[in-house]
Symmetry: C2
Subunit: 329 residues, 2 copies
DNA sequence: GGGGAGTTCTAAAACGTTTCAACGCAGATT
DNA sequence: AATCTGCGTTGAAACGTTTTAGAACTCCCC
């Protein structure tokens, strides 16, 4: 098997194992000539470092974990891309785990990450889950919250202001002449859904907001919400969906029933995923700096890992941006 | 820090470290009473096993790698779900890595997986890349190809017949009365794109197939392809897109130009992603058993890992299925 | 009460790296 | 010529598990 370790490399290059290790980890400490010799040996023997042994002895790995709620949602895919790019710049590997909306799966994934002794974890928590994260931190695993503001000052987080986002969305609908507005959302236990509604209500200043709460946030649920709205009668003249997947389903449901968008009902989504611009009636949406979100989160985490002394915890809050397209014209 | 290891647990429970290890790995070898005592100690101390130490000593990990081409494509998301479900059933963790279409990123990811000493790798190769995979196998890392038939009998693979898929798609268009058909595809160096074209040509029996080759396979590229078709004049009466992302972009591009789908041009995609059913003109597509693909691939891999003696290599080929929707009615 | 067969547990040796004190050796400084 | 400095290298200990041979017990039968 892979019987070629640092030891064999050392022998082949005529140096001690310690020197090979130095070539690997602190090449500047080794003279150019021996370094070249060792590197040649590594190449010739096809040596691949044993990460477990390295982690075991060094006490830490060059790995971070990323736990997302739904890898099927393009929003998280973009976040992931940002994280991976920055991590690989810095020489870290990313362990990606998907909780698929299940609390228990999230717990299990975090346990795996803890067993792997990752250096830190980026997580979009599925709900307020302080205990399991605190347990990680107790073990010396740094944690940065993604798309979720930290409540504590000793915790980094990167988020986007969802209240402002909700407010912007509904203000836009109002300025387009809408007056009877519906909010189609996922579970209101999800902070993002709740905050976006808060923002919507703020824009409405006391006028009523009809809320349709669905258990999931995919196109199917959006279409069902459309059917529900249609069957209940008393149609709204504008619909605000808590994400674009819901909005795309809503769009399809409305068009199927012969409702014209935006003429009969204006429609706005959230996240500005790629498909939002590509749908037949292109979707007005609230854009978030998704890729940046991941990238900055990773930056904070790796700073915390690499410079534990000087690291200053930050709670970063981005602002969302209105993207107007056909569905509200 | 995490100063609590197997040793502390042993002390706390009044047994030897070896016994704790047995409780963890071969609980049936330990008497019920001591097992209970050890398990209590584990819980009380909050012990988390150090995966690196375990891997180092045992010589293998409970981890497999999954390397996909584009995690942003819902097709791969579904495959991933299948893999993760089966792996976690079997007590394995999955290291997910995304090559984002880049050959060098794929290489780098495979190196990371090799360093982690994963038990095996599931990979959708970005092209015919025998060398790096052979190197993995030389190291004792099992490899199963996903969505790519193996050319060698000593290699497992799971794929879907793309030639049949292409043939089915174009036959369907022909039976709908189309005669001038265009094929919009990603790079023809990608086996899937090439095979689907082969199938299309087979259905055409020598009649010409106009091919538009784009460098990427996302909605943006699809829309550009539409613009290209429109600007070149001499419109086809049906378009077959090599995947649904291209088809959705094509749909939008056509509608924007006032072309009616399916009345002026019929349109068919490939993969049957969720968004295909949810688009404004719902998309006829070729469905693949995506989730199954991942699940069966994982099953083959873990069988190879856990029963190296009795394992029989298999090349499994699924058949695709035509899903008719509005875009070809 | 001696001895074989099970059962349950222990002790110590690995696994492949990293780390660190110590060493040798060149050139610079007294 | 003796001493100091600093660089480059070495050797061995350590990281936290798993694994193996075998020790310690219990039970049972002659």
């Amino acid at each position: 098997m892979s019987a070629v370790g640092i030891r064999q490399v050392a022998e082949h290059a005529g140096v001690s194992p310690g020197t090979v290790s130095n070539v690997l980890n602190r090449p500047e400490k080794v003279s150019a000539s021996t370094r070249a010799r060792v590197e040649a040996a590594i190449r010739e023997l096809g040596f691949v470092r044993h990460a477990s042994a390295s982690t075991l002895r060094a006490g830490h790995s060059k790995t971070i974990g990323l736990s997302v709620i739904d890898i099927g949602n393009p929003f998280f895919t973009d976040v992931t891309a940002g994280v991976e790019d920055l991590a690989s710049d810095r020489g870290y590997a990313v362990l990606l785990s998907n909780s698929a909306g299940s609390r228990s799966k999230e717990e299990r994934n975090l346990l795996v990450l803890a067993e792997q002794r990752v250096r830190g974890v980026l997580i979009t928590p599925s709900d307020e889950s302080p205990d399991s994260l605190d347990r990680l931190r107790d073990r010396g695993i740094n944690v940065v919250l993604v798309d979720h503001p930290a409540h504590r000052p000793d915790q980094c987080s990167v988020a986007v202001n969802d209240i402002v986002g909700g407010q912007t969305a509904v203000s836009h609908l109002l300025s387009g002449g809408a007056s009877r507005i519906a909010y189609v959302t996922g579970p209101l236990t999800i902070r993002q859904c709740m905050d976006r509604r808060l923002g919507a209500e703020r824009a409405l200043r006391g006028r009523p907001l009809r809320t349709v709460e669905m258990p999931t946030m995919n196109p199917r649920a959006g279409q069902q919400a459309a059917e529900k709205l249609l069957s209940e009668g008393d149609l709204p003249d504008a619909v605000f969906c808590a994400n674009d997947l819901l909005a795309l389903g809503m769009l399809r449901g409305l068009m199927h029933a012969g409702v014209r968008v935006p003429d009969d009902i204006a429609l706005i989504g959230y996240d500005d995923i790629d498909f939002a611009a590509a749908s037949a009636v292109s979707l007005t949406s609230i854009r978030q700096p998704t890729y940046q979100l991941g990238r900055v989160a990773a930056e904070l985490l790796l700073d915390e890992c690499d410079n534990p002394g000087t690291h200053a915890h930050q709670q970063i809050m981005f602002q969302p941006e209105l993207i107007v397209r056909e569905s509200t014209r």
